[in-house]
């Protein structure tokens, strides 16, 4: 995407009917480190790649528990993600207090989408620069949704967002038909395999990824590092050792939109898909 005269503020349409500021916000999501989600009839697994800025720092938290039955994984501006998680937690808690019942995921996701839409139609606001994979259980079963900065939301069997997510998506597309009836452990294994795809040869170990699970009879929780490492070892999916060159191409969660990076060109506006 290149700069043009219609991209200064979000309330300006381009002649082709696009809102460039919203599309730029979606670029921010693509620059964030990968997050993936997949679901079966009874469980949903969220996973994300944790890239720390340097060896000295800790990595950013990208998976948030919203309620016992809902969790979210984010990609993009983690600060925006944190704020939206706080909003989601608030909504869930208020609903629980009034109705003594868990907030249906479908409704939370619509509220989130409407909140994002507001930012695409106010001159004094900017779109949220974060994509959210919302995993939740309700009366009608297990659900996985993707909420994007444009205010659109979609339901998925499996999805991946962030940098190098295409590799994960390709893996998930190959395997998704087996997910509906998969066991919880197989689902976690598939999540780890999908994460491995985004690492492009780097070794998969529990220090570079985070996995969270929610399912029938299993409240949302993040698996601890030891358990994840055990699963990695058990499934024997440690990747081949790769030279430092590939590992050096870090995609930080705090994005500097690379000038002339992902060249989307003049095509279908991404938010319309």
């Amino acid at each position: 995407m290149f700069r043009n005269q219609y991209d200064t503020d979000v309330t300006t349409w381009s002649p082709a009917g696009r809102l460039f500021q919203v599309e730029y916000a979606m670029e921010a999501v693509k620059q964030g480190s990968a997050a993936i989600g997949l679901r079966s009839k009874t469980h949903i697994v969220l996973g994300c790649v944790n890239k720390a800025n340097s060896e000295l720092s800790s990595h950013q938290k990208k998976i948030f528990k919203v309620d016992d039955h809902i969790g979210v994984a984010i990609a993009g501006l983690t600060a925006d993600g944190r704020v939206l998680s706080r909003y989601m937690r608030n909504e869930c808690i208020n609903y629980s207090f009034t109705y003594e019942s868990p907030l249906p995921v479908g409704r939370l996701v619509v509220q989130l989408a409407d909140k994002a839409q507001v930012c695409t139609q106010r001159s004094w606001k900017r779109p949220y620069g974060v994509g959210l994979l919302v995993a939740g259980l309700d009366e009608s079963g297990a659900h996985l949704y993707y909420n994007c900065p444009s205010g659109n939301y979609f339901e998925y069997q499996a999805f991946a967002i962030g940098s190098r997510s295409q590799a994960a998506k390709t893996y998930l597309e190959r395997r998704f038909e087996s997910f509906t009836d998969a066991s919880r452990d197989d689902l976690v294994k598939d999540a780890l395999m999908a994460i491995r795809e985004t690492l492009q040869g780097e070794t998969l170990k529990s220090s570079v990824c985070t996995i969270a699970v929610v399912g029938v009879g299993e409240p949302f929780h993040i698996l601890d590092q030891a358990t994840v490492q055990q699963m990695i070892d058990a499934f024997e999916i440690v990747g081949e050792q790769e030279g430092p060159a590939a590992a050096g191409q870090e995609a930080s969660a705090e994005p500097e939109p690379e000038q002339g990076g992902a060249a989307a060109g003049e095509g279908v506006a991404p938010m319309d898909i």
């Binding site: 009034t98 109705y99 003594e100 019942s101 249906p104 479908g106 409704r107 619509v110 009366e139 009608s140």
Partner: protein, 245 residues
């Protein structure tokens, strides 16, 4: 109401609110509601009387209404407050339906919503002067609960309001059991309503029985119970009572 008029200017903390807008006492009231869980859902009974103090003034008041697809609400106490509650619930169900997403508020959710409303009003010293019974069934789960005007709420297999607590609950405690058939449930409710008719002076002999099951809610046409007044104790009721005439 002189004391109210003099109170207003002194109570400057209230601002534009006036004490006269708060519920101080009920005017038109309904008496007991009795309800129980049975095999297929909930059965609820209430008479159709609206008393104006000690006058049995209105004889065609429906004190039980369906709420959404899954719930049934019965109320005793101030009738106008009951109508206000129905308006709140109408809005609630409307917004629930507008989501159009396959999720719906069940009896548990409605009961808790009502508890919040009643308790909040009580905290503002402006209560909705009602005792409510909320029953329903969703996805095979039966639910029966009650909320009072001060926000006390609980669930049970059988509940009642007002005099029903004193006269009907003891009968239900003895004779209620799981998986009552519809006929047995109605007989049990009629037994309770008959005692209330004899002993509660604000009861009238015109009642309805409502049932709610997975299929939906039905409410019977108004009918009356057979009563027997030839008990020997009713003839010469004061015989043997020292000092009475």
């Amino acid at each position: 109401m002189d004391f109210m008029a003099s109170k207003q200017p002194e109570n400057s903390l209230l601002g534009p609110e006036a004490d006269s807008q708060r519920t101080l006492y009920p005017y038109v009231t309904g008496t007991s509601v009795v309800a129980l869980k049975y095999k297929d859902g909930i059965l609820m009974a209430a008479d159709m009387g609206g008393s104006y103090g000690s006058t049995l003034r209105y004889k065609n008041v429906e004190r039980m209404k369906a709420i959404g697809k899954h719930s049934l609400l019965g109320a005793s106490g101030e009738i106008s407050d009951f109508q206000e509650i129905l308006r709140y619930l109408d809005d609630l169900i409307l917004y629930d339906n507008m989501w159009d997403d396959g999720n719906s508020l069940g009896p548990k959710e409605v009961h808790n919503y009502l508890t919040r409303v009643m308790y909040n009003r009580r905290n503002k010293f402006n209560p909705l002067w009602n005792s409510l019974v909320l029953g329903g069934i969703k996805n095979g789960q039966k639910y029966l609960g009650t909320v009072s005007m001060i926000g006390v709420n609980f669930e049970d297999d059988h509940v009642a309001t007002g005099f029903g607590n004193h006269l009907a609950r003891p009968i239900l405690r003895q004779e209620w059991h799981e998986n009552l058939s519809f006929e047995d449930g109605v007989k049990l409710l009629e037994k309770c309503m008959r005692v209330l008719l004899y002993r509660d002076r604000s009861a009238i002999n015109k009642l309805q029985i409502a049932k709610i099951t997975e299929e939906g809610m039905t409410i019977s046409q108004p009918y009356s119970l057979k009563t027997y007044w030839e008990f020997s104790a009713f003839e010469n009721p004061t015989q043997g009572a020292v000092g009475s005439w």
